[in-house]
Symmetry: C2
């Protein structure tokens, strides 16, 4: 690695002169500046960020710890949102993945803090509860797509209840009265929140709930999470009490429902309306007809987390309130994207 001494020597000036230029002082001739720049280019000399950070300047590093985000594309937009803000604000993003292990989390926190990251964002693949054992009194921690039991840290989560409400209200407005809801796994916060929104919409519009229409659409099968979907649909769609519309737990599931429904002879949306969740565009825009779905606001969630990480909200408000009260839950609503898979009944 080249040093400032090498630069000075090659340029034929003193170390002090090079240092003055690097630190932005004036009073150095253009000719000398040019000579020093040329020497830096030839030697590939880059001033050390580490040295600057030891002198107390900001490191410009924002760090992201994820559980499985970088190994699955499901919640990819979260990373994209964070990266987009880091780029705009001139910050570098450090990322690390725990693979779900608490030990790796601890190791990454140590590594990031040794790198003097300005803040740490912890993002999970799906909306869930997490347990944070470390202390983050001196380094802001922002929880993204997850929340801690004690509400000690600011957390940003999707407004799943509103999503379930909006999707259901859209179908009700189209005249559907029998709406099936094929949910993700019951134990997931997203599932219970969306079901709550769904029930609230039914109640608002005076539609009686048929519990047979609300059921898990995912299966405990390591090879194929939708293994039982075809049988489930055949059962669900027969008889006079068959639904005219189906809400799906995500767009992947909606895609499978399309395939089975078409093969069972249903025309979408004329005979069966289908709504997805996620607005996973690769799927939603390439199904025919295109899929009506609720967007998961992952990109915006990522953006907001990065902004909190960079601006350090807790610091700003420190004077006003006590720490515990500063830390709040921010719910971000998705949009209902109406495409061709839903129609009037």
């Amino acid at each position: 690695m080249s040093s400032i001494k090498d630069v000075a020597e090659l340029a034929g000036v003193s170390v002090k002169t090079v240092s003055r230029i690097l630190n932005g002082f004036e009073g150095v001739s253009e000719r000398t500046r040019a000579k020093v720049q040329e020497a830096m280019d030839r030697l590939e000399y880059y001033p050390s960020a580490a040295a600057q950070s030891l002198r107390g300047k900001e490191t410009g590093l924002v760090s992201l710890i994820t559980d499985h985000l970088t190994t699955t594309p499901d919640a990819f937009e979260i990373v994209a949102g964070i990266q987009s803000v880091c780029e705009k604000r001139g910050k570098l993003l450090l990322i690390g993945e725990t693979g779900g292990s608490q030990e790796s989390f601890q190791k990454l926190v140590e590594d990031f803090r040794r790198q003097r990251a300005q803040a740490i964002i912890f993002a999970t693949m799906y909306h869930r509860k997490v347990e944070i054992k470390q202390s983050f009194e001196r380094c802001p921690l922002i929880l993204l797509n997850c929340f801690d039991t004690d509400s000690r840290y600011p957390c940003i989560i999707p407004d799943d209840e509103q999503g379930g409400f909006d999707a259901t209200e859209h179908l009700l407005a189209q005249g559907h009265k029998r709406i099936a809801f094929l949910t993700l796994f019951e134990h997931m916060p997203a599932t219970s929140l969306r079901v709550r929104g769904h029930l609230r919409a039914l109640e608002k519009h005076g539609i009686e709930v048929d519990p047979n229409l609300i059921t898990e659409g995912v299966f405990d099968d390591s090879q194929d999470e939708f293994a039982g979907l075809e049988a489930l649909l055949k059962e669900l769609l027969k008889g006079p009490k068959a639904p005219t519309a189906i809400l799906c737990g995500n767009d992947k599931m909606a895609m499978r429902v399309y395939m089975h429904a078409i093969q069972l002879g249903y025309r979408i949306p004329d005979e069966l309306s289908i709504v997805g969740y996620d607005n996973y565009r690769m799927i939603a825009e390439n199904l025919v007809p295109k899929l009506t779905t609720v967007s998961l606001p992952y990109f915006q969630m990522g953006e907001l987390a990065a902004e909190l990480a960079i601006d350090g909200p807790a610091e700003k408000e420190k004077g006003k309130r006590n720490k515990r009260k500063n830390n709040h839950t921010i719910k971000i609503g998705g949009d209902l994207i109406v495409r061709g898979s839903t129609g009037f009944q």
Copy 2:
């Protein structure tokens, strides 16, 4: 931020003792170690990586510059492969995205070099040529999913020609003689290489080429890249010279071909075999029947790039050969994944 002095003070020992513990020296009693550890925990003290890096130790940082990778999920597995190796090798991954601008590339290179990253990986969203203006004599640069005109840097690319060959040979082995190839844009290296592999397989098996069967399946439409696909398929599938199998430029396109073909009344694979490209599992495994496709070895490519970045191949071989010869192109082949969308003719 807490300092080593704060730790020493709280633990009631000398700065030298804390320093001895941090540097792994022996000859400090367990009781003293415990007191110091407790003080470090309470003060959230983490030794500075910057300080260590200034003392000449490795920073443990690997850096990744992408063009659009973090804002689109298409080549996501590249990031996952890099991250996976960094995790195993105890390195942290720094990422930055250029959005396609040369200026941002230059800025990121500067930032990463100021952070003393051990190596820089530059990865592109699709297989293409890039121009590198900076000098990387003193910091390894690895090109991933792209190549430079002068072959100055090691580059890792997918073996697209082999992919086109394998997919075609699979269909030929099933008795298909009229195979359509709906390609990605003609100007992309992946397209010409895969067509070359396709033609080589046809030639090997003595099948005459019908140029009408090879055509772009993507369209210059900012709203919908497959806007003209339905019309194209209707035209292609009519008449006695209609293909019995279709190779698609990627899995997204294959998904659209499924939807249109089913709606045109074709049964897959009985009346029409379909092959995708990418093994984008979210699509390939959720179509019914599941999609036969060629995997893009993005994960493996990412892994290899990270290994080269960490182990610095050029450094190792410096003595043996001259620099220019060290830098080579590594082609990684994907696998043909046979699922239900292809069948005997």
